[in-house]
């Protein structure tokens, strides 16, 4: 379907009139609670035989009012909330939000904290891709794949648990640094676990990448052209699968990514198979980034010493009146970033995660806005599925990696 015709036909909540008389068209609800739906989203699908002629995605089932809740909290109280956005790579949300507020403050993050953020962020990216690829493969019949990937994901989540104390509800970053440093022996354990994950990736690659049954289900399914993908605001692996080498880590280098060497895998046609290949290769690149960062890991503090960004040292709080008052004010009134606004984009698990924050100089945020990457993908579902068979919804939907918590906020 060309872009012009998609524009001419806006999101229909009902079928066009001629279809009303055409009794061969049947409406099928896919979701909201369907085994192949990750999270809760509803597709009202209109099919002619088995071919999809129209589909209307409906979202909002998991809307919890993240933005409203954040705007009624203190700045620091939002960090645990960000875990619940993209809950398979919570650390990347933590990092994104902290970076946005640090930008408001104009605060510098110590280099060791940046390097640990890179390591933890890349681990999260791998867990995100493992979940996406594993689940998508399972839904088209490759169940072994899912079990192995979940096993690999568990190795990595245990690493995250060692550092932050939780597998998913990490709440790990703070403004100007991180809550905890890497524990003793972490880097050795990291290497061991990465080796295991690499083995699993290699094995699964052999199992699936040339598997005729799998390729038949995903090749030339859900294809989207480069132009349409850009118009729909795609980012991350979805856009790279169309052949556009856009990666926030490279185009707007944040943290210490410009000191690390990695490649950006791109696809050619932008179908589900390309997305699978891009994600598989990205996991290898992430492993390489983690290894480089572990090699270069500097020593030093993990929190900034800038006043009013971080709480004062306990020694100060108990030792002198200034420290005590500063601590009291920061706890009672919250962090008070200077008046202004900031937008920070990080490369999340499935695209550009953007945080737009506005401060009026007080402890209460004026606006905390999340730009969810999968919002655009779900919007494009109609565009990607029309003309395909109804069974193709499953691999297409699996490949967009929709995360309900992030989509509906």
């Amino acid at each position: 379907m060309s872009m012009e015709s998609a524009l001419a036909e806006p999101q229909l909540s009902r079928l066009p009139l001629e279809a009303e008389e055409d009794t061969s068209i049947m409406a099928i609800e896919v979701g909201p609670a369907h085994p192949a739906m990750h999270g809760i989203v509803r597709f009202t699908t209109y099919v002619d035989g088995e071919t999809i002629v129209d589909m209307v995605p409906e979202i909002g089932y998991l809307h919890r009012g993240f933005e409203k809740e954040s705007e009624n909290s203190k700045w620091i109280q939002v960090i645990p909330y960000t875990d619940r956005l993209n809950y398979v790579s919570p650390l990347l949300n933590n990092i994104g939000y902290s970076m946005a507020v640090e930008k408001l403050f104009g605060a510098e993050v110590p280099r060791r904290a940046e390097y640990t953020r890179v390591i933890m962020g890349e681990i999260s990216r791998i867990t995100d891709h493992l979940t996406c690829v594993g689940a998508a493969a399972m839904e088209v019949g490759a169940f072994t794949f899912f079990l192995w990937f979940i096993k690999a994901r568990e190795y990595l989540w245990e690493l995250i648990e060692q550092v932050s104390g939780a597998r998913m509800t990490t709440n790990w970053t703070r403004f100007g640094g991180n809550a905890t440093d890497l524990p003793d022996g972490f880097l050795d354990d990291l290497q061991e676990r990465l080796d295991k994950v690499k083995d699993i990736l290699d094995e699964c690659d052999k199992l699936l990448s040339k598997n005729k049954i799998f390729i038949d289900r995903v090749k030339d399914v859900g294809t989207i052209s480069k132009e349409d993908a850009l118009s729909f605001g795609f980012s991350g692996p979805m856009l790279r699968a169309c052949g556009v080498p856009f990666d926030v880590r490279r185009s707007d280098p944040h943290s210490v990514y410009d000191e690390l060497d990695f490649e950006i895998p791109v696809g050619t046609v932008g179908d589900c198979f390309d997305r699978y290949l891009v994600r598989m290769e990205e996991m290898r690149q992430s492993i390489s980034i983690i290894e480089q960062a572990a090699d270069k890991m500097p020593y030093g503090p993990i929190m900034t010493d800038q006043r009013w960004v971080d709480y004062p040292d306990k020694k100060e709080v108990y030792g002198n009146i200034e420290g005590l008052i500063e601590h009291f004010k920061m706890v009672m009134e919250g962090h008070q970033p200077p008046k202004g606004e900031a937008y920070v984009a990080v490369e999340g698990g499935n695209g550009e995660v953007g945080f737009y924050v506005v401060s009026d100089g007080s402890g209460d945020p004026v606006r905390v806005r999340l730009r969810p990457p999968c919002f655009n993908y779900v919007q494009a579902m109609r565009h990607m599925t029309i003309g395909h068979y109804i069974a193709d919804i499953v691999p297409i939907f699996g490949s967009i990696n929709m995360i309900g918590g992030e989509l509906d906020r």
């Binding site: 998609a6 524009l7 806006p10 999101q11 229909l12 909540s13 009902r14 079928l15 279809a19 009303e20 009794t23 068209i25 049947m26 409406a27 609800e29 009202t44 209109y46 979202i59 909002g60 809307h63 009012g65 933005e67 409203k68 809740e69 705007e71 930008k103 408001l104 104009g106 349409d228 118009s231 729909f232 605001g233 980012s235 556009v244 856009f246 185009s251 707007d252 200077p338 008046k339 202004g340 606004e341 900031a342 937008y343 984009a345 550009e352 953007g354 737009y356 506005v358 009026d360 004026v366 606006r367 806005r369 730009r371 919002f375 655009n376 919007q379 494009a380 565009h383 509906d408 906020r409």
Partner: protein
């Protein structure tokens, strides 16, 4: 003229701002580069032409409409109350730009830019849903995250956090899917 959002850091316009100043001399309200984010504020009437220029001009080439949202300055007693915020990213040149436009409360509407990027469609629906800002010319301005019967716009600052709304009645499935059912 209204006050700006941020403390201007006695600054000079950067390349894109200068280009827009030259191209739209009457519509640019102000600009700033706070924390390195290039930002321009334009008049509401001109938002479509500015966005069109940003997408098509070879010096701008903003292929990606990254984000579209609004900010409610009710508690800051700012006039006009709302502000639309657009974020763009160019892959050709690698630059980013934030475009803002004020929207007054008593005439809460702004022209839709859905014809320029496909992604805008849902972002504008969400913005209408959350802030009640009407997008003139939008093909299907219905609620996206909330349900149809929801009253009010939750991200407005005067919508109370703890307000409860009545439970809606279950709709008949047949009524919704009357088409296609033989």
């Amino acid at each position: 003229m209204t006050e700006t959002t941020t403390v201007p850091e006695s600054e000079t316009p950067r390349a894109l701002t200068a280009l827009l100043q030259q191209q739209f001399p009457d519509t640019l309200i102000d600009f700033h580069n706070h924390r390195g984010d290039e930002t321009v504020r334009v008049k509401r009437e001109a938002i479509v032409s500015v966005c069109q220029f940003l997408r098509d001009d070879p010096r701008c080439k903003f292929e990606l409409m990254i984000d579209l949202t609004a900010v409610d300055y009710f508690e800051q007693h700012r006039e006009p109350r709302f502000e639309m915020v657009y974020h763009f990213k160019s892959l050709t040149h690698g630059h980013r730009l934030r475009v803002k436009t004020p929207v007054p409360e008593d005439d809460c509407r702004v022209d839709s830019i859905h014809e320029l990027w496909e992604a805008v469609n849902w972002y504008e629906r969400e913005c209408w849903d959350m802030f009640g800002i009407e997008f003139t010319g939008h093909p299907n301005l219905t609620r996206l995250l909330m349900y149809e019967q929801f009253e009010g716009h939750p991200l407005r600052k005067d919508y109370p956090m703890d307000r409860q709304q009545p439970i809606i009645e279950l709709r008949e499935i047949d009524e919704r899917n009357q088409y296609g059912r033989a």
